[in-house]
C-alpha cells in the first residue's frame, strides 16, 4: 500500500527550479531513503510533503489524503524532524515537548505518558528538565526527534537526521528508526550520506536536479548496474588535462563500458568494465602510451556507483558543483515564513 504519493512536483525559487517534476511513491511501513547531493531538492520535497511549502504545480497525497487541499488532516498524520533544529532555548526540554503535545491536541495524561516514554527511550532523563539553550547537538537532535514522535505519527519525515552528530547519538537514532519501522511506522529520510542510506533504508530514491532519477531497493539497484567497477590512477594526484587524455585512451579499449573522472578523488578514473579479463589490457595500453599505473582497484558496485551511473558524476562532485551555484541567502529567505 502506498502511504506517500508525490506527483510531478514543480517548485521555483525565483528563477531557480528546485523541483523539476519530482514524483515519488513510498510504501507503507517502509524505511525510505532520499539520496542526493546537497541542493538536489530533497529538503524542498520534504517541506512540500509536510505542508510547509506549496508547490507551483503537482499533487501531494498522504495515506490517500490530498495534503494540499486538507493540510490539517495530513499534518495530524506526520511527524517532521527538520534539518535545522529550532528549539526555544528558554524552555526546558520537557516544556517544549508539552507545548508540542498541546499543539497536536493530546490529552494531558496521554501527553505526559508519551513524554515519559520517549524520555527514557532516548536517554534524555538526565537533562530533559534543563533549558534547551544548554544542549549539545546530539541532545538537541534527540529532543527534536522526541517532539516529532510525540503524537505517534504513522509517518515520520526526517531531513538529514544525523548531520554533524557524534557516533553515539547517530547509532542511537539509527537503532530507534529501525525499531519504529518494525513497529509499523513509515519513515522517509533524506541524506547525503551514502552509508546512512545504505545502513537504514530498504527502499531508496536518488534525487538529482529536482527529479527522481533512480529508485528501488539498494541491492537491486546495485545488481542492475552489472559490470565490474575499477578505480585507476596514473599518479597519486593527477589533473584535469591528464585525466582527459587517459580517459580517451581507456575508452578505446574493448570491454570498457564507461569512464568517469572523479574530481573529488584527485582526478582518479572510475571505470565500468565487462569483466576481469579487461584488466591486463588496461595496463598494456597505458604503458604503450607512456603512462604509469599508480594504482588499480576493483570493487562491487556501491550506491555511489548507482548515482554515478544515473548522473554521470559522483555524489561528491555533484555536491561541489551545486555548492558553488546555490544562493543560500535566497534559500533561507524562502524557508522563512
Amino acid at each position: 500500500m502506498v502511504l506517500i504519493d508525490l506527483q510531478n512536483l514543480i517548485k521555483f525559487y525565483g528563477p531557480v527550479k528546485a523541483l523539476n517534476g519530482l514524483s515519488l511513491k513510498v510504501p507503507k511501513s517502509s524505511l525510505y531513503g532520499l539520496l542526493g547531493p546537497n541542493g538536489a531538492g530533497k529538503t524542498t520535497a520534504l517541506r512540500i510533503l509536510c505542508t510547509l511549502l506549496s508547490p507551483d504545480s503537482g499533487k501531494v497525497f498522504i495515506s490517500g489524503i490530498d495534503a494540499l487541499k486538507d493540510p490539517r488532516s495530513a499534518r495530524k498524520r506526520l511527524g517532521y524532524v527538520a534539518q535545522e533544529i529550532a528549539l526555544d532555548k528558554i524552555l526546558t526540554g520537557r516544556e517544549l515537548l508539552k507545548l508540542q503535545g498541546d499543539l497536536y491536541h493530546l490529552q494531558n495524561n496521554e501527553r505526559d505518558e508519551q513524554i515519559e516514554k520517549l524520555t527514557s527511550r532516548l536517554n534524555m532523563a538526565d537533562w530533559i528538565d534543563r533549558r534547551c539553550g544548554s544542549y549539545s547537538g546530539g541532545m538537541r537532535r534527540r529532543l527534536d526527534l522526541a517532539a516529532g514522535l510525540l503524537h505517534r505519527p504513522e509517518l515520520l519525515v526526517l531531513d538529514e537526521p544525523t548531520v554533524g552528530l557524534d557516533i553515539e547519538s547517530r547509532s542511537a537514532i539509527w537503532q530507534l528508526l529501525r525499531e519504529l519501522k518494525s513497529s509499523g511506522t513509515t519513515i522517509l529520510l533524506s541524506s547525503h550520506y551514502l552509508e546512512e542510506v545504505e545502513a537504514l533504508a530498504d527502499q531508496i530514491a536518488i534525487i538529482d536536479g529536482g527529479r527522481v532519477i533512480a529508485e528501488g531497493a539498494p541491492d537491486d539497484l546495485k545488481k542492475c548496474l552489472g559490470g565490474d567497477r575499477v578505480t585507476l590512477r596514473v599518479r597519486e594526484f593527477s589533473d584535469e588535462d591528464e585525466a582527459q587524455i587517459v580517459r580517451k585512451i581507456l575508452l578505446n579499449i574493448g570491454g570498457v563500458q564507461q569512464v568517469v573522472i572523479n574530481r573529488a578523488q584527485g582526478f582518479s578514473l572510475n571505470l565500468v568494465v565487462d569483466g576481469e579479463e579487461v584488466l591486463p589490457r588496461l595496463r598494456e595500453e597505458l604503458l604503450e602510451a607512456k603512462f604509469d599505473l599508480f594504482s588499480l582497484s576493483q570493487s562491487r558496485p556501491s550506491l555511489d556507483d548507482v548515482y554515478l551511473q544515473a548522473t554521470g558524476r559522483t555524489l561528491m562532485d555533484a555536491e561541489l558543483a551545486i555548492a558553488s551555484k546555490r544562493d543560500l541567502k535566497l534559500e533561507s529567505k524562502q524557508a522563512m515564513r
Binding site: 499534518r75 506526520l78 529550532a86 529567505k333
Partner: protein, 283 residues
C-alpha cells in the same frame, strides 16, 4: 467511574473549540515562561514609564498657567499620556517574538502542527501583550496616585481598560503584520524606532493642542494616540461624560464617543488590512 467520565468527556468534547483553547493556552504559556525566566524586559517596561512620569512631571511642574486645563496639575495631565504611550510601545514590539520565531525556524514547528487555527499564534501574542500593558498601566497609575495625581473612578477605570484594549489590539495587529511583511528583525526594529517617538511627540501626551504650532496641532489631532489619550485623561479629570468634547481639534470638536469610535475604526481597519496578510503568510 472516573474512566467512564473521561471517555464520556473525550467523546463529547466539542472538538474544535477545546482544540483551539488548548493550542492558544500552550502558546501563551510559552510566552509567559519566557517572560518569567527573562524578567528584564518586564522590569524595564515597568520602570521606564515611571521614569518618564517622574522626569517629565518634574520638568514641566512649573509649566505656565493655562498649559493644561484649570484645576489639573501637569503630572495628572501627563499620566494619561504615559499610560497610552507605554501600552503603545509595548504593543508595537509584539511582532518581535514572532519575527525571531520566523528567523530561527521555530515558527515552522508551529506551522507543521495540525493547529485548529493558525490565528491561535496571533491570539497568543495579543493575550500576552495585553496582560503586560495592563500590568504596566497599573504600575503607572499607582505611582501617579502616590505622586498625588489622583485616581480615576470605577467607571473611569473601566474606560481606561477599554481604551487600552482597543489600542493594544490595533497596534499588536499592526506589529504582527509588520513581523510577517518585513524580511528580518533589523528592519522591524528600524520601523519601530521610526514610528515610536515621533508619534509620542506629535500627540497630546505631553502638551495640549492649544499649546502647539498649528501644523503640529493638525498632526496631533489625526494621531491615533491622541484619541486614546483624551478619554483616559477625561477619566482622570473627574465625573465622566463621554458626550463631552474632549479634543479641540483644528477641524472641529471631538467628543469622548468620537474618540473611541475613531480608535475602534482604526483597530478594525488595521485588522481588515492585516488579517489577509497573516492568512496568506500562515496559510
Amino acid at each position: 467511574m472516573t474512566n467512564t467520565l473521561n471517555t464520556f468527556l473525550a467523546e463529547t468534547k466539542p472538538d474544535s473549540f477545546a482544540d483551539q483553547i488548548q493550542e492558544i493556552s500552550a502558546l501563551t504559556r510559552r510566552l509567559f515562561i519566557q517572560l518569567i525566566r527573562r524578567p528584564s524586559t518586564l522590569i524595564a517596561g515597568i520602570l521606564q514609564p515611571l521614569i518618564w512620569l517622574l522626569l517629565f512631571g518634574a520638568l514641566f511642574a512649573k509649566a505656565p498657567d493655562g498649559l493644561v486645563s484649570a484645576g489639573m496639575s501637569y503630572g495628572s495631565f501627563l499620566g494619561a499620556g504615559v499610560i497610552v504611550f507605554t501600552a503603545f510601545s509595548g504593543a508595537l514590539n509584539a511582532g518581535l517574538p514572532i519575527m525571531f520565531d520566523r528567523e530561527f525556524g521555530f515558527l515552522n514547528r508551529l506551522l507543521v502542527a495540525p493547529l485548529y487555527s493558525r490565528n491561535s499564534i496571533v491570539f497568543a501574542s495579543v493575550i500576552y501583550i495585553t496582560v503586560i500593558s495592563l500590568l504596566q498601566s497599573l504600575a503607572i497609575m499607582i505611582t501617579a496616585f502616590f505622586l498625588g495625581y489622583g485616581w480615576p473612578s470605577i467607571s473611569g477605570l473601566l474606560l481606561v481598560v477599554m481604551t487600552l484594549l482597543i489600542l493594544v489590539f490595533a497596534v499588536t495587529a499592526l506589529s504582527l503584520g509588520l513581523a510577517f511583511a518585513l524580511p528580518g528583525h533589523i528592519e522591524l526594529i528600524a520601523v519601530i524606532f521610526v514610528i515610536n517617538l515621533p508619534l509620542l511627540f506629535a500627540s497630546t501626551a505631553l502638551a495640549p493642542i492649544s499649546f502647539m504650532p498649528s501644523w503640529l496641532g493638525w498632526l496631533a489631532s489625526i494621531n491615533p494616540l491622541t484619541f486614546a489619550i483624551e478619554p483616559i485623561r477625561a477619566a482622570y479629570a473627574g465625573p465622566l461624560h463621554l458626550q463631552m468634547t474632549l479634543l479641540h481639534a483644528p477641524y472641529g470638536n471631538v467628543s469622548g464617543y468620537g474618540c473611541l469610535s475613531v480608535l475602534i475604526g482604526i483597530a478594525l481597519g488595521l485588522f481588515l488590512v492585516i488579517s489577509p496578510l497573516l492568512n496568506r503568510k500562515l496559510a
